[in-house]
Symmetry: C2
Subunit: 232 residues, 2 copies
């Protein structure tokens, strides 16, 4: 069944903006049903009551918990990559079950933080959520500094760091963790000084094999592997 | 150290074509050194002896086995997706350690097989191999039919199939396998009839979580997870 993003208002499900346009293009009409999502934990079975030029007003026939939402909080701390890579990361880690994306600047980041781009990423995670059948979106945080990133790590019960110079990779056992952070560098990686600071946070070393992965591949794989261990 | 793709001829390393142009743009000159790769298991430390308009002739100072090559044969059987997705898959599974990509048509594939596109994919895997520091490339096979794909599965000692309707996912234990096949559908998935035929091959069911992944995400994640289990 087709999924649309809208909002619940006084027991009605309201569609407007892009998703209303999309519903109109698909020639949905009064009486037709769809699954509504609104970034909460439910899927709403909706029936269109009224269609005007700018919105659809719908009855909520039933609601149920969406089973495809992530079970554990997985936050990707991603040093700012170029826009195209960031868009790919946003789409893929939504599909793979991340809950939060925190961008940060570091010594070797080249891309400039641009808060206006967040809304573009939000559109991407909404589309990806509909496609992969989540009802909650990836929460995208505006860029912070490296030091702010370090400080915020204290709030997580596991911090994973893919450090290629670490030879003894620990076997991943994530079943007791409910709030997992993953740190990934940008195209240029981290400076020695930054690596030192991250290592002081006693991260779990996380092996991504012997090959040198592009930053977007490392981000996507890290979230995918963490989800794999947490969900299976 | 910079990597270039060339060929070994009578104890010399020869660069021409794209990689020669690239070396020229980077203003390499006689006496400069680089790592040469030529789709065998070695990295060649080379020194430029002679540069003319179309090629570089280089001495091979030493050669050593490239440690970043895949240890196990991992073949992705991918039902033909759209070109853009296929290019992303080719780049990412090269980084993640696949050895072969076999394309096939199935009932719901929309993209048309086009042997001319193989050379574009070959360029992508060469670039990705240099970047991730492999010396062997992904071997890209021209499209076959679904039934030909089924037949060829008999040559593998493990066949992995991400089947979303299978509830009991087996714990992946791949350490005894040396030749692993992974089957991934195109955007439209497989027909019931095709699924039946694949299930008759007694595949190892392979969970990619509860969310519906795009075909390129499923392909990338499958290769990444198999590599993770095989290499760690």
């Amino acid at each position: 069944m087709r999924r649309f993003f809208g909002e619940v208002k006084q027991d009605k499900f309201m569609l407007n903006g892009e998703d209303f346009k999309h519903l109109a293009v698909l020639r949905f009409s009064v009486g037709d049903e769809f699954l509504g999502i609104c970034n909460d934990e439910y899927e709403y079975l909706c029936r269109i009551d009224q269609l005007d030029k700018k919105q659809a007003i719908c009855s909520i026939i039933s609601k149920q918990k969406c089973l495809q939402n992530p079970k554990v909080k997985i936050t990707l701390f991603q040093a700012l990559p170029k826009a195209e890579k960031l868009e790919l990361i946003t789409q893929k880690i939504t599909e793979l079950g991340a809950t939060d994306l925190v961008l940060f600047t570091s010594e070797f980041t080249v891309a400039k933080p641009n808060p206006n781009k967040i809304s573009r990423l939000e559109k991407i995670t909404i589309e990806a959520s509909k496609q992969c059948q989540r009802s909650t979106f990836l929460n995208i945080h505006p860029p912070i500094t490296f030091d702010e990133m370090l400080k915020s790590l204290d709030c997580y019960d596991a911090v994973l760091f893919a450090y290629e110079k670490q030879k003894d990779i620990e076997k991943l056992d994530l079943k007791n963790y409910k709030n997992i952070a993953i740190i990934i560098g940008s195209e240029g990686g981290f400076s020695n000084n930054e690596v030192e600071k991250i290592l002081q946070k006693s991260p779990i070393y996380f092996g991504l094999g012997k090959r040198i992965l592009r930053c977007e591949t490392a981000a996507i794989m890290s979230v995918g592997i963490v989800s794999y261990f947490v969900e299976n």
